[in-house]
């Protein structure tokens, strides 16, 4: 036996699921190596058999930035809070694409790994979680492009850039909380898969990615803050450019995410034992 083996074997009771299930995050922690391997697999496989490889991680936000700059910046002349429009929108596209990718991947994750779920037990939370985390690699690559752009436009970041990881965390948490709900629902209702593209598209316009949130009348802004991605995007711009003040709606966003995340975790755990039967 392995040396790590505990002296007394653990006792496990299996019963029909009833009422509220414990979140049991300790079990997920015990399986952290599995989580690591799943993330590592997603990253390794992502650009296999593509001619451009990891260049896609750069191309996707850059091409979107070009399209936005031409149509929203040049033609529609949308204001950009005194920052050149391309970098104004790129700073928002970074967390947005991290979020959109993580949301899409995690929502489909249980369905795409159904052969795993039907054949072996592990904490199911590892599946949507690994999909979300895998998106961080693309994000880091694209972040390099942002630094190049900032250098090009001679924008010197303020000390607030140190808070950037917090906004990344908020974006990831938002994607995970929605992803948990959708992935569990997707196992039961395959309609979910078809609604995701509309959801992300709608969500993109509800988030100040192509426009500044100052464009929204002041009395509507707290409402806008209910969308956690508003907090993330505003936070990014604030931390990088420091032109506008700290986003006041960030607290509303954070609370909204925590509520959504806990609810998502509970729903996911509740449905967990039925995934194998329905997938």
């Amino acid at each position: 036996m392995t040396v790590t083996q505990p002296a007394t074997p653990p006792t496990l009771i299996i019963r029909p699921p009833k009422g509220w299930v414990k979140l049991n995050l300790g079990e997920l922690w015990a399986h952290r190596e599995l989580l690591y391997f799943l993330v590592w697999r997603d990253i390794k496989v992502r650009y296999k058999q593509t001619a451009l490889g990891a260049a896609w991680a750069v191309l996707q936000p850059v091409l979107t930035m070009l399209v936005f700059s031409v149509f929203f910046g040049r033609l529609a002349k949308i204001p950009s809070d005194g920052v050149p429009y391309p970098i104004f929108t790129f700073a928002a596209l970074l967390p947005w694409q991290l979020f959109a990718y993580a949301l899409n991947e995690s929502a489909n994750s249980l369905v795409t790994s159904q052969n795993l779920i039907k054949k072996v037990y592990f904490p199911r939370l590892a599946v949507p979680m690994s999909s979300v985390l895998a998106g961080l690699v693309d994000f880091s690559i694209a972040f390099g492009v942002l630094l190049v752009l900032m250098f090009y436009y001679r924008i010197v970041p303020t000390a607030a850039i140190l808070l950037l990881p917090l906004f990344v965390l908020l974006a990831v948490a938002t994607a995970l909380s929605v992803g948990l709900w959708l992935s569990a629902l997707n196992v039961k209702f395959r309609d979910v898969r078809h609604t995701i593209p509309f959801l992300t598209q709608f969500w993109l316009f509800a988030t100040p990615v192509a426009y500044p949130s100052s464009l929204v009348p002041a009395r509507w802004r707290p409402l806008l803050g209910l969308n956690p991605m508003t907090g993330v995007v505003d936070g990014f711009r604030w931390a990088l450019f420091g032109r506008s003040g700290a986003p006041e709606s960030i607290w509303v966003s954070a609370v909204a995410v925590v509520v959504l995340l806990i609810g998502g975790l509970m729903y996911f755990r509740r449905m967990e034992s039925t995934f194998a039967d329905m997938a």
Binding site: M1, E33, V120, D191
Partner: protein, 412 residues
């Protein structure tokens, strides 16, 4: 601490049938919610008003001690897989409970989570982690796994370029090096060629000897017989037998095979409409009747199996030299006389197939059963195998070896 490894009490699992798809559409659920809002809530959203239900498992109770090697056998749909899925926590039970003392490792399939694009090396780590191994553990056993799978040369090649044999060997090798206290295995031995299967069985036997508890589900009676001392027979979701392997298997095998078989003729192809076997003094008489919608030259083949399913003898009127041509016909009766003097007294199973030498039209696997009692009634347990051949013994006296000769030999 008690020596119980697994205790199962009144375990049951209810499935819903009647829905062609396992998953519903949102529209159905919404409609149902409107028409029967309270039922929806009560069932947690999983109920369909008019679906039929069936119990895949019901009232299953048993206890397994640490170190026991248990075989689970049963026909398709008997609930074997459902039981294993509950024990390995893949799905939840509807009623009852299970108590497990110890780390569980389950192998319901080899190569779960293998990724085609990743190399053999990468898949060992990924698959190991999915099966519940720690990274340090995988690193320690890595060379052993690769050697067992015999894929040293291709370890850095993506597994999509592997032959199917290499693929299953690698997959099994990872699984075989899992070291939980309780191992749950489902028919994974049906992989690879004969030689590798043998290797797998040996490995399983070793694991069993190390004092681990093994739960082994298989259709293969010989491998269950070889590995397990105790067998649980499942039938329609219930435990129909639980006892020493030989007894439980014998009862399972005597299930529904008979000495006669009847079927209605088909309009599209030749069919065996009747088959019967009976033992006379020194022979087995096999009678087969067939009907066909068209004329064909019938070729009849049969294989005789021992009670645990190993083929003992088989032939056909095409193989048997010189080939016996039966003239073209659309119906007929074939009688075969098989001498029994070389068969050891036992129960035998017989498979039949009917064709025209190019196409097999009708296959009836293990459709008949017959007891060969032989001339002597002694079913000596000292006999080995299924054959009894009239071997010739020659014994001759040779010069005695003296002590001098031995000491001389030793000195040399």
């Amino acid at each position: 601490m008690s020596d119980t490894a697994i205790r199962v009490e009144g375990l049951g699992k209810l499935f819903q049938i009647g829905t062609p798809e396992q998953y519903q559409t949102l529209r159905d659920a919404l409609k149902e919610r409107v028409t029967a809002p309270f039922r929806f809530m009560r069932n947690g959203g999983s109920g369909k008003a008019s679906t039929e239900t069936f119990w895949a498992l019901r009232d299953v109770s048993f206890e397994v001690k640490h170190g026991e090697v248990i075989g689970i056998i049963g026909r398709n749909g008997a609930g074997k897989s459902t039981l294993l899925k509950i024990l390995s926590r893949i799905t939840g039970p509807t009623e009852g409970y299970v108590e497990i003392h110890g780390r569980v490792g389950s192998l319901l399939e080899v190569g779960t989570g293998f990724h085609q694009e990743l190399s053999g090396r990468e898949n060992i780590f990924l698959n190991g982690a999915i099966l519940g191994m720690k990274k340090a553990e995988i690193l320690r056993k890595f060379d052993e796994i690769v050697a067992f799978a015999e894929v040293e040369k291709f370890i850095d090649t993506p597994v999509k370029h592997y032959s199917s044999g290499m693929y299953v060997r690698l997959a099994f090798a990872v699984a075989a090096h899992l070291e939980p206290e309780i191992l749950i295995v489902d028919e994974v031995l049906a992989v690879g060629d004969q030689r590798f299967q043998e290797k797998c069985l040996k490995k399983m036997g070793e694991v069993g000897k190390q004092g681990r508890t093994i739960f082994f589900v298989s259709h293969s009676v010989p491998s269950i017989q070889r590995l397990c001392k105790r067998v649980i027979v499942l039938d329609k979701g219930r435990v129909s037998n639980d006892g020493p392997a030989m007894e439980a298997l014998a009862e399972y095998l005597s299930g529904d095979q008979k000495s006669t078989y009847f079927a209605t003729p088909s309009n599209s192809k030749p069919t065996i409409t009747m088959a019967g076997i009976e033992e006379t003094r020194r022979t087995l008489g096999l009678t087969v009747e067939f009907h066909s919608p068209f004329q064909f030259a019938p070729v009849l083949g049969f294989v005789i199996y021992d009670p645990v399913g190993n083929p003992v003898f088989g032939t056909s009127n095409r193989l048997e030299p010189p080939a016996i041509k039966i003239p073209s016909t659309s119906s007929g009766r074939i009688e075969v006389v098989i001498p029994t003097e070389h068969f050891r007294p036992n129960r035998y199973l017989i498979s039949l197939w009917l064709g025209d030498g190019y196409t097999d039209y009708c296959e009836l696997p293990k459709v008949l059963q017959v007891e060969i009692s032989g001339l002597q009634m002694d079913k000596s347990s000292q006999e080995v195998g299924s054959m009894r051949l009239p071997v010739e013994w020659n014994i001759r006296k040779i010069a005695a070896v003296t002590e001098e000769a031995v000491s001389l030999f030793k000195g040399a």
